[in-house]
């Protein structure tokens, strides 16, 4: 009996590791920016190019920065979720139109609805690099001090919204 114990223990350990590994998503790379101040930028707004938007203006508010693009397929998936959220007036959503043509971005919002207070136009994708964007859509939860508290990689779903984002927003607002 004893001679089977060790192979059994090794088997269970290995199976445990593999089981956990099954549920990990290698595309979710932990962002080093969580817990750090959101990088500042000055970009012209999508709908009013003459006006600028800077995260500085958001000091004192909890807000979401959602990186999207008209060419982004998964953005279509999260779009209804964001639209519903914007109607609830819980937290303002600002958009970063990433590597997109202005007209295409505006047409996309016209067609699908606009959940954003406003969108900033990052045509060359440089601000995206500052934010460590590598797979659109991405969503950042930014607190009153301008610190990134959470980064959602990939589309915001009902599940991630209710399990992660909204509880965090409520907590940050109470501070």
């Amino acid at each position: 009996m004893m001679r089977f114990i060790w192979p059994f223990v090794i088997f269970v350990t290995l199976a445990g590791f593999l089981y956990v590994g099954l549920h990990l998503n290698p595309h979710e790379v932990p962002s080093p920016l969580v817990g750090k101040p959101a990088p500042l930028f000055n970009l012209s707004q999508l709908h009013e190019p003459a006006k600028q938007f800077s995260p500085k203006e958001m000091k004192g508010q909890v807000w979401l920065l959602n990186v999207w693009a008209s060419w982004c397929v998964s953005c279509k998936v999260e779009h209804p979720v964001l639209l519903a959220l914007s109607r609830q007036n819980i937290v303002p959503i600002y958009g970063l139109d990433y590597k997109d043509k202005r007209e295409a971005g505006m047409a996309w919002l016209q067609e699908g609805g606009n959940p954003y207070v406003l969108s900033a136009s990052d045509i060359e994708g440089r601000i995206g690099i500052d934010y460590g964007v590598y797979g659109v859509p991405e969503t950042y939860v930014i607190d009153k001090e301008g610190v990134i508290r959470y980064k959602q990689i990939g589309p915001v779903t009902q599940q991630s919204l209710h399990e992660k984002i909204l509880p965090l927003v409520a907590e940050l607002k109470a501070k």
Partner: protein, 155 residues
Amino acid sequence: MKYLLILLFCLLPIFSYAGEAKDMADDPVLEKRMIGLAQNLRCLVCQNESLASSHSELAEDLRREVREQMQKGLSDQEIIDYLVARYGDYVLFDPPVKSYTLLLWYGPFALLLAGLAGLIFQLRKRKNKISETHLSDEDAKRAADMLNPSKDLQK
């Protein structure tokens, strides 16, 4: 008519001439340095490709970024730090030794030592189990015959 068509088809390659690949940087030395650096960096979109070989848009943007920083005179280390600050240690194909990468770096050696220790332990145990047996001359001869039956076959 037929010949005209054939002639037209013969002329087709002229239009499909692709032209030379654009030289991204005017400075080939800088381009070489950029590629050298980018080979050790991971593309985040296609995760097992390097930043040097990836054709994803993000990789192109990041190569542009690296190029520009090199033109500004930043050192390789400064550029690596810049990328790590944004994308994390994940961009490095060569992860740094940190508290949470200790297992990654030294785990295999620990396993090797554990294996060796287990092997030595087992061998010692086995050595104690095997006792020397003394054979009489007759038994030894019988055993030798059994182990070497070819002599019998020749008879």
